[in-house]
């Protein structure tokens, strides 16, 4: 057993895709194009027909965290009165906005901000702060939360009045984009973008599902990295091309039983955003013990919902309201249990993420529910996806070691 072997070639492709994305974003703004800062759950397809180029502070925040720059950025913001207990993605992003510091040259100045509350309520406060800093318009879409029923998860279908409300707001967003770009809305263009999104999401789903193989050709740590284009360039043909190649590679690896973890002996499912600044250490720790994290709820969120064909705004309202994080606790526990069964996992690791309250509140009960449903054990890992202040090597790795020993 040892470190992950057989470098995944798609990582080299990914570097090119992301480099082009960030470079083009900067050039685009300088050439007079409009740039929007967008939350990861926002209906980004709506921007592309207007020629608005989206960039993602969350993706950039993940890079800042992985390169260990976040604490420096957060300190700048905390000195201005923001609490340390707030979302570290948001704090480091505002720190980047104020200082311009970034490990990858930074994001271009936005012409507008586009946020959607389907991932959390924090995005509203975060983007309000950005709107005041940059003095640019904030367009927001409010997606009513779908709570559980009393003793079971809420139905899969989004309540009709919620769809109507969200569709209305999508229409209002279109009006805002028309004003900002002085371009007219084209349903034909939007359908084309949605087709590409649908195709990319299906490919991404197929990529993740290669994890069902024994041994798995990739781990969730690979998925956390390969996820970037489905978030940042969704709706483009480049995104589709990238995931076709990733899928080819994973299928080839699976066909020859080339496992990502040498001597895979245990399979686990991960819940929540990764600990970006400890990805390598965690990946090595598990791999050295023959443990493969075969699936996760985070990257699965971009694969679990298919944008149906039909009237575009209706379809978008349904899909963006019904996403994983906008649903009740039992629904989220069901997804966790489903992944355990689908990927034939032996247990679960739930990252209790201090920064991300909507993802983390209820995890103790989610673990109990998923355990009752699957009979598999789980471990709660207390950390933060961006801020290393709450990380303690000894505590975390000792806890994980004890958990793994419980499997015998």
């Amino acid at each position: 057993m040892g470190k992950p072997v057989d470098r995944i070639r798609a990582f080299d492709l990914l570097k090119g895709v992301m480099k082009r994305h960030y470079t083009w974003a900067k050039v685009y703004g300088k050439l007079g194009g409009k740039v929007a800062w967008v939350t990861s759950g926002a209906p980004v397809e709506l921007l592309l027909p207007f020629g608005i180029y989206p960039v993602y502070p969350e993706s950039h925040g993940a890079i800042c965290a992985a390169r260990r720059m976040s604490p420096e950025l957060m300190e700048v913001v905390e000195k201005r009165g923001y609490s340390q207990d707030l979302c570290a993605y948001a704090l480091s992003d505002i720190g980047h906005a104020i200082t311009g510091k970034s490990p990858v040259g930074g994001l271009p100045r936005p012409d507008l901000l586009f946020c959607c509350t389907n991932i959390c309520g924090t995005v509203l406060k975060w983007y309000q702060a950005l709107a005041e800093h940059f003095r640019v318009p904030l367009v927001m879409v409010d997606t009513p939360f779908i709570p559980d029923e009393t003793t079971c998860a809420a139905p899969v279908a989004v309540p009709p009045h919620s769809v109507t409300f969200v569709k209305k707001q999508l229409g209002e967003a279109v009006e805002s984009f028309e004003r900002i770009t002085r371009k007219s809305y084209s349903e034909r263009k939007l359908r084309k973008v949605l087709d590409r999104s649908r195709e990319a999401m299906n490919l991404w789903k197929a990529v993740l599902e290669t994890g069902k193989h024994h041994p798995a050709p990739m781990t969730c740590f690979d998925a956390f990295i390969l996820l970037n284009p489905i978030v940042t360039v969704r709706g483009t043909s480049g995104c589709v091309r990238f995931y076709r190649k990733v899928l080819d590679e994973m299928n080839r690896r699976a066909a020859v039983k080339k496992g990502r973890v040498p001597d895979e002996r245990l399979r686990l499912v991960w819940d929540n955003i990764p600990v970006w600044y400890k990805m390598k250490d965690l990946s090595t720790f598990f791999s050295e013990r023959g443990v493969c994290l075969v699936a996760d709820t985070y990257t699965n969120a971009w694969a679990d919902n298919e944008i149906r064909e039909g009237e575009p705004l209706d379809a978008m309202a349904e899909i963006y309201t019904g996403i994983f994080l906008n649903r009740g606790l039992r629904s989220r526990a069901d997804v966790l249990a489903r992944l355990v069964r689908k990927y034939e996992a032996d247990g679960m690791i739930l990252h209790s993420n201090r920064s991300c309250k909507p993802y983390s509140f209820g995890q103790y009960d989610a673990l109990r529910l998923a355990h009752e449903s699957t009979g598999k054990p789980g471990f709660i890992l207390e950390a933060d996806h961006v801020s290393p202040r709450h990380w303690d090597d000894k505590r975390v790795f000792n806890g994980l070691q004890t958990f793994l020993e419980s499997f015998g």
Binding site: G81, Y82, C120, D142, F145, T150, F361, G362
Partner: protein, 386 residues
């Protein structure tokens, strides 16, 4: 009617105990809520009495049962509410209505359903994007659903007549509280801040027909005392924040001689800061009233500059200092603090943030020291400002 200070203060000190007794005496179903965005008129029309879920006290925050469900870094208000459900304090409650206004509350609702299965839980979503043209229609559907859900609990599904009567009663209550707050500057040094707080808490857990006369009686009390005022209070402030169910905080201001001239709090001005709309069906009026309320920290009003409303209110109240007490891990208000402070400071005002852990002795100890030090510094600054 004479203001019965002891009775009202007693209700404010322990609204849950009061609600338990009222439940036994009147048989009226009790609906517990956590958010000021609860549709008060609908609860009243369904024959229910509303009571706020309790905030944490010192004991609840140490080794509590809620910690088996919530991480340590969870909103303290949510921890206190869940603990009350788990320790049996709410065993007389007929249902809990969660109005989803923030990440913590919307998750707490589902946790509560699992952790406290003996108490029915109802949900309602209050739009964040209140300026959308679709918000009113959406909210009306939510209100209609809550009417049905509450009816199933209380046995009385409110129709247009019941809702109309509840709106009338609500208007009376809003008028009485508006008159009370209108006399607040007049009350400097004559009536303790604790009295205003007590009346607001009583208004949040008594039927409007009982609450409105209490507010009016305090207005009369202020007027009778104003005639014999000797000297005005020199130090004053305004409070802003979320729910602040801690009588000790008001005692603190009373003890150190700082007049609280106004507030923007869930258990304060936000109980009544919007007129009850006229015209349209009762459901439309209730929805419009909720959409017209001041936004607080959890809502989005397109074009709103954060802190601008507070600045106007502070100027109206004639205060130079605003105090923002925030319960630990209350993200929306923690997010607003820097923006609001910057706006106030740019206008020559000061702002003090107090992070409360719940259960500390607010009228003594660290919090008192911070408040006293702040106002002593502020007084020196005011002298130099001339």
């Amino acid at each position: 009617m004479v203001f019965d200070r002891d009775r009202v203060k007693g209700i404010a000190a322990d609204p849950i105990a009061h609600a338990r007794v009222a439940r036994e005496q009147t048989g009226r179903p009790v609906i517990a809520t956590l958010s000021s965005w609860a549709p008060h008129e609908v609860i009243e029309a369904a024959g229910g009495t509303e009571v706020r879920l309790p905030a944490p006290d010192g004991g609840a925050m140490q080794g509590n049962r809620a910690r088996a469900h919530l991480q340590a870094a969870s909103c303290f208000l949510c921890q206190g509410a869940l603990e009350a459900g788990l320790d049996g304090s709410l065993d007389f409650v007929d249902a809990v209505l969660f109005v989803q206004t923030c990440d913590a509350q919307q998750n707490l609702s589902d946790i509560f359903k699992i952790a406290v299965p003996s108490i029915p839980v109802l949900d309602m979503y209050m739009p964040v994007n209140r300026t959308s043209r679709g918000a009113a229609a959406y909210l009306e559907k939510e209100i209609e659903r809550v009417c049905r859900d509450l009816g199933a609990i209380t046995g009385k599904t409110p129709g247009p007549d019941e809702l109309g009567s509840a709106l009338d009663a609500r208007r009376e209550q809003v008028d009485a509280l508006s008159a009370l707050y209108g006399s607040r500057i007049e009350a400097d040094g004559l009536v303790p801040a604790m009295d205003f707080y007590s009346v607001c808490v009583a208004s949040s857990c008594l039927p409007p027909s009982q609450a409105a006369p209490i507010a009016r009686s305090l207005v009369e009390d202020i007027r009778s005392k104003a005639a014999v005022r000797e000297c005005p209070v020199e130090r004053s402030c305004m409070l802003v924040g979320s729910t602040l169910p801690y009588p000790g905080l008001y005692e603190l201001f009373d003890r150190i001689g700082v007049a609280v001239r106004d507030d923007d709090l869930s258990l304060g001005r936000r109980l009544f800061d919007h007129p009850v709309p006229a015209g349209g069906s009762p459901v439309e009026r209730i929805a419009r009233g909720m959409l017209d309320r001041s936004s607080g920290a959890t809502k989005f009003d397109d074009g709103l500059v954060r802190g601008s409303g507070l600045l106007r209110a502070a100027r109206r109240a004639g205060v130079k200092h605003v105090v923002m007490p925030v319960l630990k891990f209350c993200d929306p208000w923690a997010w607003d603090f820097p923006a609001v402070r910057d706006r106030l400071e740019a206008a020559g005002m000061g702002m003090l943030l107090l992070e409360l852990a719940g259960g500390e002795d607010l009228a003594a100890g660290t919090i008192r020291n911070r408040v006293e030090a702040y106002f002593e510094m502020g007084s020196v600054g005011d002298l130099f400002d001339g």
